[in-house]
């Protein structure tokens, strides 16, 4: 297979030799690092010429892409990145599925950015708690909020708190070693799992639940998660959505992966897909191709090889449409989930904006494991920052926070928790561009020198907060990779922040 070869060819190029070579490859094509003046001289020059001091809150892709664009297009800008956790990279580390290591290659470029002599990383600092946004604004000419979406939307139905019901966000955090979810220990003793939602997170969760262990074992999934998954009884995963196939939010790459998953068979109900061919003739290409793949899988006879693979599969997944959750029903003990009651819906309107309205009919699906994957949600970081709680974003225009000069935002907190890496990249470049425009027009006043981190450091010190530097992170990184090597995997994540801090001598 040529396509297979292309993948492995790329993997060979990128994977060989681990992090060091990877990073060096990245360094060959990233022009971020300044032209070779020794560290220190740059700082001296910039105090002479008064470069703008900018800080970014959050070290995920939005934070790093914003920093990258600023550093690249402003010769004197100094950018400090603050992060709540000791370790950087946000959802690239804690959101991207462990079996998608290719996406994590963006870390090589982020590392390049962090190593620039005009960029500093300060982990273990919670903005809004350890230091306020107002205090940051005193220390910096511009403050950019890129802290993402740390919460999730809730179902708001009875029984949501029963044992066996989890949010996909917590489940993802758990298998990815997010400290706050490390003790989740989900109960996977039910043969049927229901995932509420038809987005890429829903498919990620389904894939982790269904993938053969030997695949997961070679990833950076945490050892604890692997042990729980090894005892999993889950055989079938039902992905349930309120609307129809034409409104599914997942993207085609993730769907194709599900269809091709070894030892797993897709079960798509042909009735859901008949007649869709006409409906998609005039829709944009991504929607058309996504629907075509579902239609093909549901309606066409698979080839001999695929048919054989599906027949012998030990696990399966299915898509169920036009069902809206009403209530999680308890088992006789009153504590555990036994089933989920769904309202049957029909669509009002068509296309992307179609609405699901209940028909009055109700249906129960028996299942002891329920994962709600109906979206992430941003939270306000500080009362001083405007926040639109209805939309879950900071109100802004091209990243300029409305009514708050000197404040900017990028990433999910700017436009809502949707999109893939390129979406966040473009969006972050857009915000950085706004900052550059404001610097050029004078809207952003840089005539007065700002204290930057030196000022922040003294505030943090008075509160007993000791930030983690990027070189500290590199020690943690090296320790994680060394532990991973012992287990035959790329990395064994440290899930306890205290252990991370001990490792760097705190």
């Amino acid at each position: 297979m040529v396509s297979g070869f292309r993948f492995s060819c790329a993997a060979l190029r990128m994977g060989r030799g681990g992090g060091i070579l990877c990073w060096k490859r990245a360094s060959a094509f990233r022009f971020l690092v300044s032209s070779g003046s020794p560290t220190g001289i740059k700082r001296l020059l910039s105090t002479d010429e008064l470069g703008p001091r900018i800080c970014i809150v959050g070290s995920g892709p939005a934070g790093f892409y914003t920093a990258q664009h600023l550093l690249k297009h402003h010769r004197l800008a100094e950018v400090d990145i603050y992060e709540k956790l000791p370790v950087p990279f946000g959802l690239v580390r804690f959101g991207v599925a462990p079996d998608h290591p290719e996406v994590k290659n963006v870390i090589n470029t982020f590392t390049q950015t962090a190593r620039s002599d005009r960029c500093s990383y300060y982990g273990n600092v919670t903005v809004g708690k350890d230091i306020t946004v107002k205090e940051l604004q005193k220390a910096y000419h511009a403050v950019i909020l890129s802290y993402g979406a740390e919460d999730n939307r809730t179902l708001g139905i009875p029984g949501e708190d029963l044992a066996g019901v989890y949010t996909a966000r917590a489940f993802v955090g758990w298998y990815n070693g997010l400290p706050e979810n490390r003790d989740l220990k989900p109960d996977l003793s039910s043969e049927t799992a229901v995932i509420l939602g038809h987005g890429n997170v829903a498919l990620d969760v389904a894939r982790i639940l269904l993938s053969p262990l030997e695949i997961l074992r070679k990833t950076d999934i945490t050892e604890d998660s692997l042990a729980v998954l090894a005892r999993s009884k889950v055989k079938r995963v039902r992905l349930i959505g309120r609307r129809g196939p034409l409104q599914a939010a997942f993207t085609i790459k993730e769907l194709r992966e599900m269809i091709n998953l070894p030892s797993v068979r897709p079960l798509l109900d042909p009735a859901d897909f008949k007649g869709l061919g006409d409906a998609i003739r005039d829709v944009p290409r991504p929607r058309r191709r996504l629907t075509e793949l579902m239609v093909k899988t549901a309606l066409e006879e698979p080839g001999e090889e695929v048919a054989g693979r599906w027949a012998s599969a030990s696990r399966e997944w299915s898509l169920k449409f036009l069902r809206s959750p009403l209530e999680v029903l308890p088992a006789t003990d009153g504590k555990r989930a036994r089933a989920i009651r769904m309202a049957v819906t029909r669509l009002e309107g068509s296309g992307e904006t179609a609405k699901a309205v209940p028909t009055g009919e109700v249906e129960d699906v028996l299942c002891g494991l329920i994962l709600s994957s109906i979206g992430y949600r941003s939270l306000p970081v500080d009362p001083a920052v405007p926040f639109d709680s209805k939309q879950g974003i900071i109100p802004n225009s091209s990243g300029r926070v409305l009514g708050a000069p000197g404040l900017y935002c990028s990433g999910w907190v700017k436009r809502g928790p949707v999109g893939v890496i390129i979406t966040t990249m473009n969006d972050s470049f857009d915000t950085a561009q706004s900052v550059l425009e404001d610097l050029q027009s004078g809207a952003l006043d840089v005539s007065k020198a700002k204290g930057g981190f030196e000022l922040v450091r003294s505030v943090l010190k008075s509160r007993g907060i000791c930030p983690v530097s990027f070189s500290d992170w590199e020690k943690i990184d090296a320790a994680e990779m060394a532990r991973g090597k012992l287990g035959g995997k790329p990395r064994e994540k440290i899930v306890d922040p205290q252990e991370m801090l001990q490792l760097i001598g705190r």
């Binding site: 040529v2 993948f7 060979l12 190029r13 060096k24 490859r25 094509f29 402003h74 290719e102 050029q440």
Partner: protein, 168 residues
């Protein structure tokens, strides 16, 4: 399905890339352009194996660079340090669409068949056209000498690009 004739070319690409990977790591230590190492390496690097490519950037500038037969267009951008914002974020692993390029019709028609996986990523590309491909999947051939590829516009680029404090 891609034609099986593409395989030898890809094998060569893999070999070339591995070679390039090694030199890149040495280059990083020496702070010299990677081209330099290629120029000093074995016979494959004679001038007739070089293919010239012109990139039209988002600002309309023309960047001209050379690569070897078998190199991918991502390799060409990387090896020549071409300044294209955000290009090749996933480093050629078909996990993003940041190396999206737009080809001339006559070149596009002769490119190797496209895989489903590349089409899947192109679905998420900005400014998709009828002659769009991912640069990481296109390997240089002699017949591509002097071709012109265009970097698509992104949302942010509708605005005028700004560089502050850069020496012209």
């Amino acid at each position: 399905m891609a034609a099986s004739s593409a395989v030898p070319l890809l094998l060569r690409a893999a070999a070339a890339s591995c070679h390039r990977l090694l030199s890149a790591s040495r280059v990083a230590a020496n702070r010299s352009p990677s081209r330099f190492f290629h120029a000093s390496a074995p016979a494959r690097l004679s001038s007739e194996d070089k293919v010239t490519v012109h990139f039209i950037t988002r600002d309309g500038d023309k960047l001209t660079a050379q690569g070897k037969v078998g190199d991918s267009l991502l390799d060409v951008v990387v090896d020549n340090n071409l300044d294209i914002d955000g290009f090749g974020a996933c480093e050629g692993t078909l996990a993003c669409s940041t190396c999206h390029l737009i080809f001339e019709d006559h070149i596009f028609e002769k490119l190797d068949a496209i895989t489903d996986e590349e089409l899947d990523m192109l679905d998420l590309a900005y400014g998709l056209t009828e002659t769009s491909r991912l640069g990481c999947q296109i390997c240089l051939q002699k017949s591509m000498n002097n071709m012109v590829v265009r970097v698509p516009e992104t949302v942010a680029d509708v605005r005028q690009s700004i560089d502050i404090g850069k020496n012209p």
